[in-house]
């Protein structure tokens, strides 16, 4: 299918394509209620509650008042619907802001100011410098005489450098005044999401001469959400609008994320549901049999001899309702509440406030904090995430002399300053290249300082450094550059710019010294691109050594070179260059080839080393998190070398011989396959050795690997704990996340730029760094933090605590509902299996919603281990990752406990309240208070740290239970009038309570003590150690060590080989991951766990096949 866009045609275009209204909304006013309800009811738990609530409306079978279910149910639905509505309203507001932005567009032949949403396909839109592009445009004119303009595409692909866009050849030379009268036809494909492809044709209508079809590529487009830079104005024809733009096609409301804990709770709920069905079935059948054999004999019950047709169903349904509390409706409410609080704790945390910008951490998604504690893979962006994304010129090597090695900053190196002062020619040339050989635009600010705008930050760093050494690039007048050197102004005229491309890896300019009239070629680029072009006599060994040394320090290196040109040579070349520039076919290739002809016999001036500074605390953070058993993958759009350098300097991979990097590369499918197989083989062999193996792959090979060797790559992904993927596109990042997710790993993606957005949305947890590249990532992310190092605290402290707390809370919720439900079941066994409820509706509701929820909610303050201990022993996170605290076996423990407690309470109550005391209301209150007492002690026993609030909640709740019941007992109209007063006056009541507590808690305490002392988990041991006072230093204290490490790096002299301290040395085979994959039946209480792991790995295998 083709889309035909009639340029500037006001009549035809309107009807066919959508206007430029952007909509990220999920709902409209009209479909909100049905759609939201539908969504909510797609969850099993909600369906279940609705069913129960509906059944309760049937008074024949309901044991309790229907309000006890409808009330909470409606509340829950209202709360989540309100939240959704609020989110959607915010999306609507931001859409509205974008839609109502004013843009210049041509309407009926006149340029007008219209709102962005009124742009139609075919309209001509005018943009000025720094405008955001409102929709996908095909360029037809710019302010540049050569038809060029610059765009920043960071929002689209995350690449921060400026890209050039050019008008199609057909539009070349159209007069400014005529541009808004242009008519024509663009044939383009239907909208798709490929941001690197656009194959279309343009044909202008007379009077615009060109009648030939002119091809249009992505180079001729301005895509939505890019920014126009360094260009006064540009105009283009809208081809895709609204949600049909390239960006709009990739956009969408991300799927709501479900945590592993939630999934586990759902699973357990399902199991309980099945159990409930079995109970209901058994009791239903038993009830019907009892009814037919026994109850008909009970004349005082007056069973009719013939009942209605549904008679057989009545008793089972009654039991269904009686047992419906097995699945506590309160769990959803309490979980939502505590999750909200976890998120608040993250927001409030002062230790995660970025001091520089005073940005606090923020949890946008309040529902997934537990997942933070279960992360297994972290996929991280490099630039801006690990690094500051702030390039600083640090060292250089000029004609064999190293500057900046001693103090780590070349600008402060006196030797260099002296060399500049004495006008040493090599140094001057070096500085000239730094200042001129670029596409930087200086802008004079009012206060006299100069602001440099550069396509790349490397260039900016070089120009700044040159300025620091008195070679100040002051002004750019068209092609004439003013350089201010030691108070004298030197002018250069730029004749040609040989642009940087990723293939050439170098850029050059041809300049003319305006004083002497001499021509120079100035080049800079990667060492492998520059050094081979050195003039024949020159020794390049020093330079390659310098490059080597700088790389080891994690610095980015650029080689600078120059050559004086002969007038003739230049003239001759210039013609070829012009010709190549206007070539229609293979232009890029031909330009590259022509450039090659000039860039030879260069005189290498030196090497500049630029530091992309690592953020504070990055190596320690990565080290700690890796100890915690988290694997790191680095996904970067950057070059392989830089990526590896950064990876080395931030502990990502260990240097040889401990670490080993395996490269996967190749341009063709075969090469990639061979390379992949080789790496896989090495991986398999070394997986048993305590070696730190990482694979490195680039975007191209990744594309092939993912497409054709998916299975092999999957295996590689499973084997390798570390990976570096360079030159990957945003969608590849998302694909990798998807790959790891399909292996059932919990993934966390962290990034800071627009190119990370998709990965962030795709991963289980998306973390955005509110950094320099803007806030896009932070906005799309579930969590935003100011600095990478806060990730450690986010995961180890907040994630871990959240997981622990939710694990307790959810299991406890099931425990207390099961407890009351078991008692109801036991009671029905002595009440003729007729489905009588022992408790009245008010007590039941209050039990679930109030008495048992409040103490456990305060559990959000519980800390099993102190933050300090966790930081020192990050390995403890393993318990969270492997889900040791919430899984079927722990759940079975709670299930057993509730059964045991139900038996204790029931047996003691019916025996001590037998005969003359067996009044229904009284017994029911005795049993209920027995449960409440046990609850209080169970929570107390399971609480690890008591703050004043916990004491208040646990014991206050117990008091509140009595106060509330006294109040209810004082109301003559209530069913339990005077009951509680009567009970509290009886000594036997208190004696019974004490007996229940002792009999219920004694064995639990003993068992817990036994486990704690003789089968302790690591958490227990650390708790004991904490109790003894002082941290245990079995692993060494991490903090001081890393401090020392950092200090060691900066003054490191280049002359001595880099002695990297062995910071990362847990035996890999002993790390949590290893054990997780190869679990033996050694540890008895892990049996359940290992089984489930086995089955999941089995599932993985199945998937592979």
């Amino acid at each position: 299918m083709k889309r035909c866009v009639y340029i500037n045609d006001d009549d035809l275009s309107h009807d066919i394509y959508c206007d430029n209204r952007i909509s990220n909304r999920k709902y409209t006013v009209w479909n909100f209620l049905p759609k939201n309800l539908w969504e909510q009811f797609s969850r099993f738990m909600n369906q279940y509650f609705l069913l129960i609530a509906c059944l309760q409306l049937w008074s024949l079978i309901t044991p309790v008042n229907p309000a006890s279910t409808w009330g909470p149910l409606i509340l829950i639905f209202a709360v989540s619907a309100t939240k959704e509505a609020w989110d959607d309203y915010n999306r609507y507001l931001s859409d509205k802001k974008a839609n109502e932005k004013e843009v210049w567009a041509v309407r009926h032949g006149v340029k007008k100011h219209i709102q962005a949403q009124d742009i139609h396909v075919g309209n001509i839109v005018w943009l000025r410098e720094n405008d955001e592009v409102p929709c996908d445009l095909v360029l037809i004119g710019t302010s540049d005489p050569q038809g060029l303009c610059y765009v920043e595409t960071a929002a689209l692909d995350g690449e921060t450098d400026l890209k050039t866009r050019v008008i199609p050849s057909a539009c070349m030379g159209i007069d400014f005044d005529l541009l808004h009268k242009v008519k024509g036809l663009i044939e383009c494909p239907e909208p798709d999401k490929d941001i690197r492809r656009f194959d279309a044709n343009l044909r202008l209508f007379p009077p615009f001469l060109d009648n030939d079809v002119c091809p249009i590529t992505i180079k001729n487009t301005l895509l939505q959400s890019c920014y126009l830079r360094n260009t006064e104005w540009a105009c283009g024809v809208a081809v895709y609008t609204g949600n049909e733009t390239k960006l709009g096609m990739t956009r969408g409301v991300p799927e709501p994320k479900l945590t592993a804990v939630d999934a586990m709770i759902d699973k357990l709920t399902g199991a309980i549901f099945v159990f409930q069905l079995v109970v209901v079935m058994v009791l239903g059948v038993a009830g019907n049999i009892w009814k037919d054999t026994e109850a008909r004999k009970l004349w005082y019950v007056e069973y009719p001899t013939k009942g209605p047709w549904y008679e057989l169903l009545v008793i089972p349904l009654r039991f269904e309702l009686l047992c419906s509390i097995m699945i506590p409706i309160s769990i959803k409410v309490s979980l939502d509440l505590v999750k909200g609080l976890y998120a608040k704790f993250i927001d409030w945390d002062n230790k995660m406030v970025d001091q520089e910008t005073s940005t606090p951490a923020h949890a946008a998604n309040t529902a997934i904090s537990e997942d933070l504690g279960q992360v297994e893979y972290i996929l991280t962006d490099k630039t801006g995430t690990l690094t500051e994304n702030q390039m600083i010129f640090k060292r250089c090597c000029i004609s064999g002399t190293f500057y900046g090695n001693e103090i780590g900053d070349a600008l402060k190196d006196e030797d260099l300053v002296n060399a500049v002062a004495t006008r040493s020619p090599d140094v001057i040339h070096f500085l000239t290249v730094m200042a001129i050989c670029n596409t930087v635009v200086p802008i004079q600010r009012q206060n006299g300082t100069i602001l440099y705008k550069a396509q790349s930050q490397d260039e900016e760093a070089l120009v700044h450094a040159a300025a620091g050494l008195h070679m100040v690039f002051v002004k750019k007048n068209g092609n004439v550059l003013d350089i201010n050197f030691n108070a004298s102004v030197i002018q250069y005229e730029v004749l040609d710019t040989l642009e940087f491309t990723s293939d050439r890896k170098r850029m050059s300019v041809v300049v003319k010294d305006c004083q002497s009239g001499k021509l120079f070629l100035l080049s800079k680029g990667a060492d492998e691109a520059i050094l081979p072009c050195a003039s024949t006599g020159q020794q390049t060994r020093t330079f390659s050594e310098a490059v080597e040394q700088y790389s080891q320090l994690g610095l980015r290196t650029l080689c600078l070179a120059w050559r004086e040109l002969e007038e003739d040579e230049y003239q001759e070349w210039s013609l070829m260059f012009k010709e190549a520039n206007s070539a229609l076919v293979d232009r890029d290739w031909r330009i590259a080839e022509v450039c090659q002809r000039l860039e030879h016999h260069l005189q290498i001036l030196g090497v500049a080393a630029i530091e992309d500074r690592l953020q504070d605390g990055v190596p320690e953070t990565i080290e700690t998190l890796r100890k915690a058993g988290i694997n790191f993958w680095m996904l970067t759009g950057d070059k392989q070398n830089t990526a590896i350098q950064i990876a080395l300097s931030c502990n990502f991979v260990s240097p040889e011989p401990k670490g080993q990097l395996l490269l996967i590369n190749g341009k063709t499918g075969d090469e990639v396959r061979q390379s992949l197989e080789r790496v896989l083989l090495t991986m398999r062999i070394t997986s048993s050795e305590p070696k730190d193996v990482a694979f490195v792959i680039d975007g191209w090979a990744l594309e092939i690997a993912l497409k054709h060797h998916h299975k092999a790559f999957m295996e590689l992904a499973l084997l390798s704990k570390t990976a570096i993927c360079c030159r990957v596109t945003p969608s590849q990042k998302a694909q990798l996340v998807e790959l790891l997710k399909s292996c059932e790993y919990r993934t966390l993606a962290i990034g800071d730029g627009g190119n990370d957005v998709r990965m962030i949305q795709q991963a289980h947890i998306g973390v955005g760094i509110s950094g320099r590249e803007g806030l896009q990532a932070a906005r799309a992310a579930d969590y935003s933090i100011g600095k990478f190092r806060f990730l450690k605290r986010l995961i180890l402290v907040h994630g871990r605590y959240s997981y622990n707390r939710t694990a307790f809370l959810s299991q406890y919720s099931f425990y207390k509902s099961l407890l009351i439900c078991f008692i109801q079941i036991f009671f029905s066994l002595i009440s003729g299996v007729s489905g009588t409820s022992l408790f009245n509706s008010v007590s039941l509701m209050a039990y679930n919603v109030f008495y048992t929820s409040v103490p456990v909610l305060v559990n959000v303050l519980d800390k099993d281990l102190s933050e300090r201990t966790v930081m020192q022993h990050p390995q403890i996170l393993f318990y969270c990752q492997a889900g040791r605290l919430l899984n079927p076996s722990t759940f079975a423990g709670w299930f057993g406990r509730s059964l045991f407690h139900a038996i204790v309470v029931f047996v003691i109550c019916i025996h001590s309240y037998a005969f003359e005391k067996s009044e229904m209301e009284e017994l029911s209150m005795v049993v209920l208070s027995g449960c409440i007492w046990l609850q209080a002690f169970v929570v107390a026993l399971e609480t690890n740290s008591f703050t004043i609030l916990q004491h208040l909640a646990i014991w206050g709740n117990l008091v509140a239970f009595y106060v509330i019941n006294w109040i209810v007992s004082a109301l003559p109209s209530s069913g339990m009038y005077t009951i509680m007063f009567r009970l509290c006056r009886q000594p036997s009541y208190w004696i019974t309570m004490f007996l229940i507590v002792v009999a219920g808690m004694g064995p639990v305490l003993a068992l817990k003590y036994f486990r704690y002392t003789y089968r302790p988990s690591k958490i227990n041991i650390l708790r004991q150690a904490e109790r003894l006072g002082g941290p245990i230093l079995s692993l060494g204290n991490i903090e001081p060590q890393s401090r020392a490490f950092e200090k060691e790096v900066s003054p490191l002299s280049i002359s001595q080989p880099k002695s990297r301290s062995p910071v990362y040395e847990p035996l890999l085979s002993d790390s949590p991951n290893a054990i997780r994959r190869s679990f033996g039946p050694g540890a008895p209480f892990d049996f359940f766990q290992s089984q489930s792991r086995l089955s999941s790995s089995y599932a993985r295998n199945c998937k592979d096949n």
């Binding site: 069973y303 025996h911 005969f915 009044e919 004696i991 650390l1022 079995s1034 050694g1082």
Partner: protein, 357 residues
């Protein structure tokens, strides 16, 4: 404000020193926030972390055990001090010719239901002596039965005419029944009279129901109406001239029992009974428990501070108390034989293969 950091780090706070200083500076910036609120938001409220040390656990268990046994002995003593006479009369009171078909006997209103039994008082019984009737295998807690009543009607009488909850005994001949429902319809109707020698023992049948029920649950101006007029007669008749609040047998009966075996107060003997006194009891054995195999018993019992005779609490306390002491001893033994160094660094090696046990 200055003290915050210290108090925090002294307890649960785990802040590294440097970070703590940061936190404090922010705290100063924030100004007004109270200290407690700050600690709450930073999750650094002072907390105590109890740990299950051998000493604490063993002594807790031991103390609990020590504490339980005296309570158990006390309860047992109280229970044993109660003198209780239980007389099952349902089968004895059926004449021999009807022994094979008790249901026919009980349903035939022409056959006199008189019956007498003799009891010997085993021990001195101090007044008041409570007279209970005990029904076994009688499901007053059956759902159909429990639901079949109308509290509003009991309170307000005919003014409240929604008797739908009383099904199947809600109305008769189109007129509502007061009191409606199965419970009142099946009111227990055996009667007892007691003689010591030839003197009739005075039985106080007033104040056997809860005062709160008489005052607030059963109407003073509500009189039985259209009660037991149907084809099927359940239990006792009610005097239509006595308001419900004074029909104490009914009030007692309507406090449904939660267990299928229960006792309900019939009256009180307000004189002491000496040991070896012979009491003759005359029954009117009207109530049908024969059709469903229920049992009827007459119980004479004194009361202690713990209530009637019930050894369960005492026995349970003693049993659990001794179990706890045994547990404590076992743990002591374990601890002595196999002492566990607490929080030993040895156990914190991250060698996941050998979880020490």
């Amino acid at each position: 404000m200055e003290g915050d950091g210290e108090s925090v780090s002294s307890s649960a706070s785990t802040a590294l020193v440097a970070a703590d200083v940061d936190a404090r500076s922010i705290l100063v910036l924030r100004g007004g926030r109270s200290k407690a609120m700050y600690q709450f938001t930073q999750q650094s409220l002072p907390a105590c972390k109890p740990v299950l040390t051998p000493t604490s656990v063993i002594s807790t268990l031991f103390l609990m055990g020590i504490f339980c046994i005296p309570i158990g002995l006390l309860s047992l003593h109280a229970s044993l001090s109660v003198v209780e006479i239980v007389e099952r009369y349902d089968s004895e009171c059926v004449p021999h010719q009807f022994r094979l078909n008790k249901v026919a006997y009980i349903k035939d209103s022409l056959i006199p239901k008189n019956c007498s039994r003799y009891l010997k008082v085993p021990k001195y019984m101090k007044a008041p002596i409570y007279i209970y009737y005990q029904l076994d295998n009688y499901y007053q807690n059956h759902r159909r039965y429990v639901k079949s009543r109308s509290d509003k009607q009991l309170r307000y009488g005919l003014q409240y005419n929604d008797t739908s909850s009383c099904i199947p005994e809600e109305s008769n001949d189109g007129l509502p029944i007061v009191p409606c429902g199965l419970i009142s319809w099946s009111l227990f109707n055996d009667t007892y009279s007691f003689f010591r020698g030839t003197d009739e023992l005075r039985i106080n049948r007033k104040n056997i129901a809860w005062k709160s029920d008489r005052d607030h649950k059963f109407g003073k101006h509500v009189f039985p109406f259209n009660f037991q007029n149907g084809t099927l007669i359940g239990g006792a008749m009610l005097d239509p001239n006595v308001p419900l609040s004074d029909q104490e047998d009914l009030i007692v009966w309507m406090r449904t029992a939660a267990l299928p075996s229960f006792r309900k107060l019939y009256g009180k003997i307000e004189e002491d009974l000496e040991a070896n006194d012979v009491i003759s009891i005359y029954f009117l054995n009207n109530y049908n428990t024969y059709s469903f195999g229920g049992r009827k018993k007459l119980v004479l019992s004194t009361a202690s501070w713990l209530g009637g005779r019930n050894n369960f609490l005492g026995m349970a306390y003693i049993a659990i108390g001794s179990c706890l002491i045994v547990l404590a001893l076992v743990f002591i033994l374990l601890h002595v034989k196999n002492p566990r160094p607490y929080g030993d660094a040895m156990y914190v090696s991250w060698n996941w293969k050998g979880i020490p046990n």
